[in-house]
C-alpha cells in the first residue's frame, strides 16, 4: 500500500511543478517562433538580467511572505529606497562599497522590521500595513534624494562593474539571482525556518499550538522581503549608475504576479522556489517578446494581459491550481 500511495503523491507534485513549467516552455516555443532573435545568447542573457534586476530577486522574499498568508506591497518602494541609499551612502557620505551595501541591506531589513512588526505583533492586516510602508518608503527615498537621481560617479565604480559585469560569461546580477533562489530553496525546504513559514500559512493555529512563536517568523519573512528589495535596489543603482527614487514603481504587482503564476496560493502554505523563478521568467519573457516582435506600445499591455490569462489557463488545465 505504501509504495502505491507514494507514487500518487509524487505524481501530484509533478503535475504541480509541470503547471508553471508548461507555461514557461510553451511561452519559449511561442517566443522562438515569433521572433528569430529570441533564442540568441545575447537576448537570453538580456531576459535573465532584466528579471534579475526587476521582479526576480524580490519574488523570493514575496514568496516567503505569501507562504505565511501575508502580502508585501512595499517591495517596489523599498527597492527605490535601496537604490537612493546606495547613491547617498557611497556618493554623498563617501562610504566604501562594502559598508554601503551592508548599510543599505540594514535599511531594507529595517523597513521589513517595521511593517513586519506591526503585522506580526499588533496583527494589522498585511495589505494595509505594507501599503502604508509603500508610501513611507517612497516618500523617504524622494526626500533623501531630493527627487533627483544621485549619480554614483567614481565612488560607485565598484558598483557599476557589478551591475553590468560578467562572471563565467553570465551577468553578475543573474548569478546573484540564481544564488538567492538556491538559498531560498534550501531555506524553504531544508530548514526549520522554511518549514515553519510554510506551516504558518497552512494552519497558523496548529503552529502556535505546537509551541512555536509564530510572530517571530512572520516578522522574519517581512525582513527577508525588505532585504531582498534592498538588494534589487542596489542592483538597479549599479546597473544604471544612479540612485533613483523612481525605480520600482508598480513593481509590487509584477512581483506578486510572478509568485502567483508560479502556482503559489495567496491563501498561504502553497508555493515553491523553482516555480517562482519560472513565474518571474514568464513575466520577463512576456515583456521581452513584445519588444522583439515589435508589438506597438499601446497594444503591449493588451497582449500581456491576454498572455497571462492563457498562461494561467494552461496551469489550470494541468489541474495544479487551487483557488
Amino acid at each position: 500500500m505504501q509504495p502505491e500511495e507514494k507514487t500518487k503523491v509524487d505524481y501530484r507534485s509533478i503535475i504541480q511543478r509541470f503547471g508553471t513549467l508548461a507555461i514557461f516552455l510553451v511561452l519559449v516555443v511561442v517566443a522562438t517562433i515569433w521572433s528569430e532573435n529570441f533564442l540568441s545568447r545575447g537576448n537570453i542573457l538580456n531576459v535573465l538580467r532584466q528579471v534579475a534586476s526587476s521582479a526576480g530577486i524580490m519574488a523570493v522574499g514575496m514568496l516567503f511572505v505569501i507562504l505565511t498568508r501575508g502580502i508585501d506591497l512595499s517591495v517596489g518602494s523599498v527597492m527605490a529606497l535601496g537604490s537612493v541609499l546606495t547613491g547617498y551612502f557611497c556618493a554623498i557620505s563617501g562610504y566604501g562599497a562594502v559598508t554601503t551595501i551592508l548599510m543599505v541591506l540594514a535599511c531594507g531589513a529595517l523597513c521589513g522590521l517595521v511593517s513586519g512588526g506591526f503585522i506580526a505583533y499588533l496583527r494589522l492586516p498585511s495589505f494595509v500595513m505594507s501599503l502604508a510602508m509603500m508610501a513611507i518608503a517612497r516618500g523617504l527615498s524622494l526626500i533623501i534624494s531630493e527627487g533627483r537621481p544621485i549619480p554614483l560617479d567614481e565612488a560607485g565604480a565598484a558598483f557599476s562593474r557589478f551591475g553590468s559585469g560578467f562572471l563565467f560569461g553570465i551577468p553578475q546580477p543573474v548569478l546573484l539571482m540564481f544564488a538567492v533562489f538556491i538559498v531560498g530553496g534550501v531555506v524553504l525546504n531544508f530548514t526549520r525556518f522554511g518549514r515553519i513559514v510554510t506551516a504558518i500559512g497552512s494552519n497558523e493555529e496548529a503552529v502556535r499550538l505546537s509551541g512555536i512563536a509564530v510572530p517571530r517568523y512572520i516578522l522574519a519573512v517581512y525582513m527577508i522581503s525588505g532585504v531582498l528589495a534592498a538588494v534589487a535596489g542596489i542592483i538597479s543603482s549599479s546597473r544604471t549608475g544612479v540612485g533613483s527614487a523612481q525605480v520600482g514603481v508598480g513593481a509590487e504587482l509584477n512581483v506578486i504576479a510572478a509568485v502567483v503564476i508560479g502556482g503559489a496560493s495567496l491563501m498561504g502554505g502553497k508555493g515553491g522556489v523553482i516555480n517562482t523563478l519560472l513565474g518571474a521568467l514568464v513575466m520577463g519573457i512576456i515583456a521581452n517578446i513584445m519588444n522583439l516582435a515589435g508589438v506597438p506600445g499601446y497594444h503591449q499591455q493588451v497582449y500581456m494581459g491576454a498572455i497571462i490569462v492563457v498562461a494561467m489557463l494552461l496551469q489550470y488545465s494541468t489541474g495544479s491550481l487551487k483557488r
Binding site: F190, R195, S210, G211
Partner: protein, 503 residues
C-alpha cells in the same frame, strides 16, 4: 498519592458567557481520567487552560505540587503537558513527518531521517501511513493518527485526548486504546474526553462529569453504570437511545442508483431507498461511503451509472440540481462543509431553500424567516440563545442540529446523513436519532452513513456494507452484528456464509 495536575477553582468567561465556573480537576500518574459532559459543558475549554492555550479568569494550575502560570502553549509543553485537540491541528500543506515533528524541527532538516523517525513512530502505533505524504490529502482518520503520533513524539507526563475516536472506526479505536494503556502503565497521566460512553467505561479509571461549566462530580469507574453517568450528564435519564422503528410506513421507491462509478472509490454501486425507510451505509473508513453520497448529491462528478429519483432520471451536475430535485446532504465535515460558522443560525437554516424566505424581488422576509426558524428550532429542540446567534456560538451537537434544520426547511424527499452524530453528546444524539426517525415517518427516504455501527443497527431498516468502493452485501435487523458488518465489508465473500448461518 500526589496528583500530577491539580486544577483549582478555574473560571473562564468569554465576553458574557461563563464557560467555566470554579472547576476543580485532577489527574494522577498512571491513570486514565475521563472527562465527560454534554456539548458545550466546558471540557475542551478546561483542557485549553491546562495546555496553556488560554489564561483562566480565576483559579490556579498546580503541577507536581507547584503552582504555575502558563503564558502560552510552550510553557505547558516544557512541563510535559500535551493536548491532542478535538479540532484537527495539522498544517495540511506539510508532510506527515513534518507535522509530527513540527514543534521540534532541527535547524537544518534531513527529510530522510525525519521520515524514518516518523515511520517508526507510526508503525509503533500500528498504522501504515506514508510519512512523506502531504497531510491534507489523508483521510480524517489518518490525520487523527498523525495528531496522536505528533503528541507521542515528545516526552510526556500528561496527555489529553479530546475526542480522539470521533473519527476512528472501531478497530482503530481499539488500537488507540492499546496505546493509551501502554502510556498509563508507564505512569503517564491521561485525560480522556469522549462521547462514546461504552469505550469510556472500557478504558477509564475515574470519571469526572461536567455540566454547564461546573463539575457535577468525580467517580471511580467501578462504582457506576452507564445510566448513572448519563443522568449526571443530561440531568435526566434517557428512556431509550433509539426511537421505535415500528411507526414508519415504508412506501414506494424514492431513490434508486444503478451501477454508479466515480473515481477509485465508487465502483458499480447499486441500491435503492424507499419512502419511510432508513437505510444504513456501513463499512471501514475509506471504503467510499462518503464518495457515494457526494456523487448522488452532485458534489462530485459521476462517471457512469444512473440515479433515479421518484421514477425520474437525475443527472446532477452540481448540488444545485440535486437540491432542486429534492435531495439533501448532511456532510461528514460539519465545520468545512455543513455550516457557515460566523453566520447566524437563521441564515444557515434557510440556505438550502431561500425561495421560501424572499419575496418576488429577491428581498428577504426577515420577520417571517425569524418566525419560521424559531419554530423549526423549537421542534428540533435546538439549544441556542436566539436564531440570530452565530453558529460558532453553539455546541457541536447543536451545530449539527442546525445542519439538520437546513434540510428540514428544504423539505426534500431524500435525505443523506454522513456521520450525523460525530462529536455529539449522548443527549443530543438520541434527539438527533429521533429527528432522523421523524424524517422517515414523514415519508422521506433516509440514507445514513456512520462509522458507529451501533448507531446503524439502532436506527436503520437495513444496512449496506461497503468495501473498496463496492457494495458488498446487505444486513437486515436479524443479521445485525459487528462481525457480520466487518466481515462483509472486508471480504464480500463472507456474505453468503453469514446470511446462511442466520437465516
Amino acid at each position: 498519592m500526589t496528583e500530577l495536575v491539580k486544577l483549582k477553582s478555574i473560571s473562564k468567561s468569554f465576553g458574557g458567557i461563563h464557560a467555566l465556573k470554579s472547576v476543580g480537576f485532577d489527574v494522577r500518574p498512571g491513570e486514565v481520567h475521563a472527562l465527560l459532559g454534554e456539548n458545550g459543558a466546558g471540557k475542551s475549554t478546561l483542557m485549553r487552560v491546562l495546555g496553556g492555550e488560554m489564561v483562566p479568569s480565576h483559579g490556579e494550575v498546580v503541577i507536581d505540587g507547584k503552582p504555575v502560570v502558563f503564558r502560552d502553549p510552550r510553557d505547558a509543553r516544557a512541563l510535559g503537558i500535551v493536548i491532542i485537540h478535538q479540532e484537527l491541528a495539522l498544517a495540511p500543506d506539510l508532510t506527515v513527518a513534518e507535522n509530527i515533528f513540527l514543534g521540534e524541527l532541527p535547524g537544518v532538516i534531513s527529510h530522510a531521517s525525519l521520515r524514518k523517525r516518523a515511520k517508526d513512530l507510526i508503525d509503533r502505533l500500528g498504522f501504515k501511513i506514508d510519512p512523506g505524504r502531504i497531510a491534507g490529502t489523508l483521510a480524517v482518520a489518518h490525520q487523527q493518527v498523525v495528531e496522536i503520533a505528533k503528541a507521542l513524539s515528545r516526552d510526556i507526563k500528561i496527555i489529553v485526548f479530546d475526542e480522539p475516536t470521533a473519527v476512528l472506526a472501531a478497530q482503530d479505536a481499539m488500537k488507540l486504546h492499546e496505546i493509551i494503556r501502554g502510556l498509563r502503565d508507564r505512569g503517564v497521566g491521561i485525560v480522556y474526553i469522549s462521547h462514546r460512553l461504552e469505550e469510556v467505561f472500557d478504558i477509564a479509571d475515574r470519571m469526572t462529569v461536567m455540566k454547564d461549566g461546573q463539575t457535577v462530580g468525580t467517580v471511580a469507574t467501578s462504582d457506576v453504570k452507564i445510566d448513572d453517568i448519563i443522568r449526571m450528564m443530561v440531568g435526566r435519564p434517557i428512556s431509550a437511545m433509539f426511537p421505535e422503528r415500528g411507526k414508519r410506513v415504508i412506501g414506494q421507491e424514492m431513490l434508486k442508483v444503478e451501477h454508479l462509478n466515480a473515481g477509485r472509490m465508487v465502483r458499480d454501486v447499486s441500491f435503492s431507498v424507499r419512502s419511510g425507510e432508513i437505510v444504513g451505509l456501513g463499512g471501514l473508513i475509506g471504503s467510499g461511503r462518503t464518495e457515494v453520497a457526494r456523487v448522488i448529491f452532485g458534489a462530485d462528478p459521476l462517471e457512469s451509472g444512473t440515479i433515479t429519483l421518484k421514477g425520474k432520471m437525475l443527472k446532477p451536475r452540481s448540488p444545485k440540481d440535486a437540491v432542486e430535485a429534492g435531495i439533501g446532504l448532511v456532510p461528514e465535515d460539519r465545520k468545512q462543509q455543513g455550516v457557515i460558522l460566523d453566520k447566524p443560525i437563521r441564515v444557515n437554516s434557510t440556505m438550502a431553500k431561500m425561495s421560501s424566505v424572499v419575496n418576488a424581488f429577491g428581498f428577504l422576509k426577515r420577520t417571517q424567516e425569524r418566525a419560521d426558524v424559531t419554530a423549526l428550532g423549537k421542534s428540533l429542540r435546538l439549544k441556542a440563545s436566539s436564531v440570530d446567534a452565530p453558529v460558532s456560538s453553539l455546541s457541536g451537537g447543536n451545530q449539527q442540529k442546525v445542519v439538520l434544520a437546513k434540510w428540514f426547511h428544504a423539505d426534500g424527499d431524500v435525505i443523506i446523513l454522513d456521520e450525523p452524530t460525530r462529536g455529539v453528546d449522548v443527549g443530543a444524539k438520541s434527539e438527533i436519532y429521533a429527528l432522523v426517525n421523524k424524517l422517515a415517518e414523514d415519508g422521506k427516504a433516509v440514507l445514513v452513513i456512520s462509522s458507529e455501527h451501533q448507531e446503524l443497527f439502532g436506527l436503520c431498516d437495513r444496512v449496506l456494507a461497503m468495501g473498496r468502493g463496492r457494495i458488498r452485501g446487505e444486513l437486515t435487523p436479524e443479521t445485525y452484528s459487528e462481525e457480520n458488518l466487518l466481515g462483509l465489508s472486508m471480504t464480500g465473500g463472507a456474505l453468503t456464509a453469514n446470511q446462511g448461518g442466520q437465516a
